[in-house]
Amino acid sequence: MKESPLHHFELHPSVHLSLMGIDISLNKAIFVMWAALAIVFILFMLVRKTEGRLVPTKMQSIAEMLLLFLRGLVDDFIGKEERKFFPFVAALFFFILSCNMIGLIPGSYTITSQIVVTGTFAIFIFMMTLFIGFGRHGLHFFGILLPSGIPKILIPLMIPIEIISMLARPFSLAVRLFANMTAGHTVLAVLFGMSLTLPWFIGFLPFGFTVLINALELMVAFIQAYIFTTLTCFYLGDVIKMH
């Protein structure tokens, strides 16, 4: 009866596959990731179908609202003339949002609670900012390590600090999303375990809390996706504008 509250984060292969000696077994996380992709794709295809109507449908107005909001982010942080990043930012937001939301369905899996997934996103974004920075500014890009207007005597002190704060960016992106999702789901598991093991006249209390925490997690799912995309825009804008 003793089950660890971290048990549901463990992954075991459900379909064993291997390709030329490399293990490519499918597990729950991969199925959930496919489901998340499919949900985003199907919802937007449905929206796309109603395009051109004079009175927008409900789905269409929600999609327009979210896309305008994301375009506002891109305009604010990266700049109006850099709208070519908008598809990337929007895809990232909707994918993370749908992954977080799927995780809230009981019995499914939260893939954003695996640091491998969030870390891959973050490292990809970090690499992208480096490529864009060196592509746009050439060797002047090293100037990002030297904030303007500091005295010369502070330069040897500032460079390690700036390097650390630059390297901390992908880590903080990855850790924030991973930690928030993991913490929320662990709390849910602990409360639910309590409500199962306690007698019913006390057990209804933790059960009620799981409902409330689920509502909180819904908000956290949205906010974490929003923060992830905001910071992506901020980092991209930072290397494009160079302070």
């Binding site: 909001f69 650390i164 704060s165 390297l167 880590f171 903080s172 928030n180 906010i223």
Partner: protein, 101 residues
């Protein structure tokens, strides 16, 4: 036809409008906490790696923690400054600026 997830229009505007204080506040709160911790951790890790590489046992990790903490504080400071700047800009639209600022 009204779905179960319909938000009232003021609520929707509050969550989605550009200068929404709730959304911005929560966003900032979630950002700054991890920023400090992660920068310190990165600094400590870099110091630890240096210790192992150059064999300077305690000094690398000490300097790393201090530099990492400084980097975290700097990031938080910058975020806070841009936030304050935005707020002043927003207030400037509605009310005239005070003399004492």
């Amino acid at each position: 036809m009204s779905g179960p997830f319909r938000l009232s229009i003021p609520c929707r505007n509050k969550l989605m409008s550009k200068g929404s204080s709730i959304r911005q506040g929560i966003g900032i709160a979630f950002r700054l906490g991890t920023e400090l911790v992660v920068a310190t951790m990165i600094g400590a890790l870099m110091g630890y790696a240096m210790d192992n590489y150059f064999d300077t046992k305690p000094w690398g990790i000490l300097a790393g923690v201090i530099f990492g903490g400084a980097a975290g504080c700097l990031t938080v400071y910058r975020t806070a400054m841009t936030l304050q700047f935005d707020e002043e800009e927003n207030n400037g639209d509605q009310t005239p600026k005070g003399e004492d600022s």
